[in-house]
Amino acid sequence: MKEMFEVRWHGRGGQGAVTAAELSVYAAIEEGKYAQAFPSFGPERRGAPVVAFSRFSDKPILIRSDIYNPDMIIVLDPTLFKNVNVMEGLKANGIAVVNTSKPAEDIIKRYNFPGNIKLGVVNATRIAMDILRMPIVNTAMLGSFVKATGIVKLETIINVVKRRFRGAAGEKNAEAVRRAYNETVFVGGDG
């Protein structure tokens, strides 16, 4: 991993974007890495666009300001494109992972993704509805996060997810993680 990897998670209040950022960081810490997670602080409001951040590094992370130029964005809800500039500040040659039922080419065209951005798409809503019977996509998106970056191992994320959601819920969420990992497809970027 280069010096520091910064991720911005976009969701709506109640969809678990904050939890997803947290779990990604717990996984990194478990693997002995340095990591930091925090939400865009404020009164929680269901449905309102929310942003969460996570940082990863092999060295202690000193910086404590917000993330302005993420290496990666993860979009839990595709309707956010209408309301929020999710790509703001995304680094050239960065990565984007989007939960969508549309193909990648469609997303690229519609939202003007530059060619140097590696775009991953996954129908996390379908996965969540199939396995969890609820459109809560945060755990599925963690699978996509692992596939996109390899910053943490899939098994570590699964352990962390199972610890957060005990028993049957843990198993189901773990299944969602795995399925999203398998089903996320990438286009663009440097391959």
Binding site: R12, G13, R45, R46, G47, A48, P49, D77, P78, T79, F81, K82, N83, T100, S101, K102
Partner: protein, 100 residues
């Protein structure tokens, strides 16, 4: 007193004294429609104009339209679904906002 400017990033010189809001009812300038992931669709043929949706909407996002019927102001509707729940003739369906 400075004329109140509806800007999210006012300058010191643009703030009214004590940072009060001197304009009544200005919450209408804050659009919460983008919080929504499902929206109500009212079938005007089924609608009887009973106004219960208007009564129950917590956001005053239901408005009276011609013919004594009702419709939704999508600038404010947060998609809570209470109107659909309360409509006595089931004239309201909640539809996914979807990606289109």
């Amino acid at each position: 007193m400075n004329e109140f400017k509806r800007t999210p990033k006012p300058r010191v010189s643009e703030l009214p004294i004590a940072a009060i809001i001197p304009e009544p009812g200005n919450s209408k300038y804050y659009s919460t429609g983008d919080w929504r992931s499902v929206r109500p669709v009212i079938n005007k043929d089924k609608c009887t104009g009973c106004s219960l949706c208007w009564v129950y909407c917590p956001d005053t996002a239901v408005i009276k339209v011609e013919g004594g019927k009702y419709d939704v102001d999508l600038n404010y509707c947060k998609g809570c679904g209470i109107c659909a729940e309360e409509c006595p003739v089931k004239a309201i369906t909640m539809v996914e906002e979807g990606e289109d």
